[in-house]
Symmetry: C2
Subunit: 315 residues, 2 copies
């Protein structure tokens, strides 16, 4: 038995502990088998994390496990989907059992928190890279797309923005002040907004998770929907306890994993209290193209959404 097969055994608890009813056959055969409930569609997304690009070299493997699964599941939340399972393609430079065990502990914690079972995977030798594909289900036709925003819709986000970007300067600090720990949590332990996304099905006209920054990700909604928007700078939440992200970090910082959603304004007061309380209205969709920011002093700024329509996800 090779060293990589021993490593493979370390992943077994991930399949066994969180097995969902939808997963009829997990790891160990040519394929896994999932049963999608009648009247539902399968929703899936793939994300790659490369060491040195998407996470720092020598990053804590337990944190990496949590973060990799959270980032992937966040795409399901943005569709309003119920998470079911995931596959993991892991490329490792060597068979370091302690490192892998720590990765598995982080994945396990996130698996239990998000209700997703490991359904299959592939472990190969090579430069450290994780590719996760997550599977969820939505009632037929109820997946929330990026393309449904209409003029007059409200723009809302599910929580404060910019925290992960603000955390970057503290990442290498061995003893950061306690006030920045909410920022560091935001970077190390993002929490996908699964429940909010699910409860916005049939309500939100469009949704996206904020991985590349508010301006870029709202820009994807605007592009896909053929509309524009204005935002009110003072309304953009960016407080984390007593720490605060800058407006710049909130607009352009990545890795927040809050949702940005649009919804018709009459829908807002109809939402259950806990859902509407979790939404921060920050602006409105306009028919005229462009994303504008209204400053408290009345100045209006045209924001750079930058990246254009990402037909195929990149970096």
């Amino acid at each position: 038995m090779g060293e990589f097969e021993l490593i493979g055994r370390l992943f077994r608890p991930l399949a066994e502990i969180t097995r969902q009813e939808g997963v009829l056959l997990g790891p160990g055969d040519d394929c896994a088998i999932q049963r999608v409930p009648a009247g539902h569609d399968l929703v899936f997304s793939v994300d790659t994390l490369v060491e040195g690009v998407h996470f720092p070299g020598q990053y804590d493997p337990a944190r990496l496990g949590w973060r990799a699964l959270a980032v992937a599941v966040s795409d399901l939340a943005a569709m309003g989907a119920d998470p079911v399972c995931y596959t993991l393609a892991l490329t490792l430079p060597d068979a370091d059992e302690a490192w892998v065990a720590a990765l598995v502990s982080g994945l396990r914690e996130a698996s239990l928190a998000f209700g997703v079972a490991l359904a299959g995977g592939d472990i190969t030798r090579g430069p450290l890279t994780l590719t996760l594909q997550v599977h969820g289900v939505v009632p037929e036709g109820q997946g929330i797309l990026r393309s449904g925003a209409r003029p007059g819709d409200l723009v809302a986000v599910t929580g404060p923005l910019g925290g992960a970007a603000a955390a970057l300067e503290w990442l290498d600090d061995p003893q950061p002040p306690s006030s920045v720990s909410p920022l560091l949590d935001c970077y190390h332990r993002p929490v996908p907004k699964i429940d909010t996304g699910r409860r916005l099905r049939g309500v939100a006209s469009a949704a996206i998770d904020i991985s590349d920054g508010l301006a870029a990700d709202l820009g994807h909604i605007l592009e896909a929907s053929g509309v524009g928007a204005w935002l009110e700078a003072a309304a953009i939440p960016r407080r984390y306890g007593i720490a605060e992200a800058s407006l710049e970090q909130a607009l352009y910082g990545g890795d927040d994993y809050q949702l940005c959603v649009t919804l018709p304004s009459p829908a807002l007061p109809m939402l259950p209290g806990d859902v509407s309380k979790s939404l921060h209205v920050i602006g409105e969709i306009r028919s005229a193209e462009g994303l504008y920011l209204q400053h408290p002093d009345g100045a209006r700024e045209l924001l750079t959404t930058g990246t254009g329509y990402d037909h195929f996800k990149t970096e």
Copy 2:
């Protein structure tokens, strides 16, 4: 727009040309959406190919595209599934448009040949790695597992073995003799046995695709089914035109992508002529553990299946 987004656009024809009816939403949103037909299960498998591990450095990108998709779809064939779509997580050291265009041409050719649409993907910067996840469907409960082989079942393969291994010594030869071109095709252009797999649903008791060699892969069936087998050396097909793989290559060479199946012997004469003609019976399942090879001189050899039960796929 970044160079990686330009690269992303090169993949657009893959989603548009081969779009299957089951894919309701392809690349370009947070997730893709697939509708699994009523009475069917989703079947899926993930495979990673790393440069220098799973394919040679400087390998022709058009060949790589074909091979990557063929290898992935082969896992669907081994379940008896109908292919539907796939995702591609591509990590690239740089945005080399000509290289990517050639990769896309190989993927496109294979997509059309195997009837699978690109449903989503992720392009990242890093060492050259491809991770493909393929999705297929089978009627509920009819996926062919590794665990169903029973004593008395016949062991059969769908074609000659060892060709890819025999090709290895010719890979670097600029002008290989024409007699070895069937071997080289076997390596560069494997063809997953989709139709045979599909038509063995409800007939085969177990199946696997031969990626690691007959002994290792049949070994997985034996382990999962709790049985043994004997093989007749003279019955193992290994002729490719006028070239021939060695018995060693046929037993232990990888990358063949034929299927190894087991089936009750009364089922064989009931199969349609073209299916039974594509099966080469090479041995029989026994209740006693171990994989034995019967040589023409009567000698009986215990084969090394080597890798044990691969709960989680490795290398």
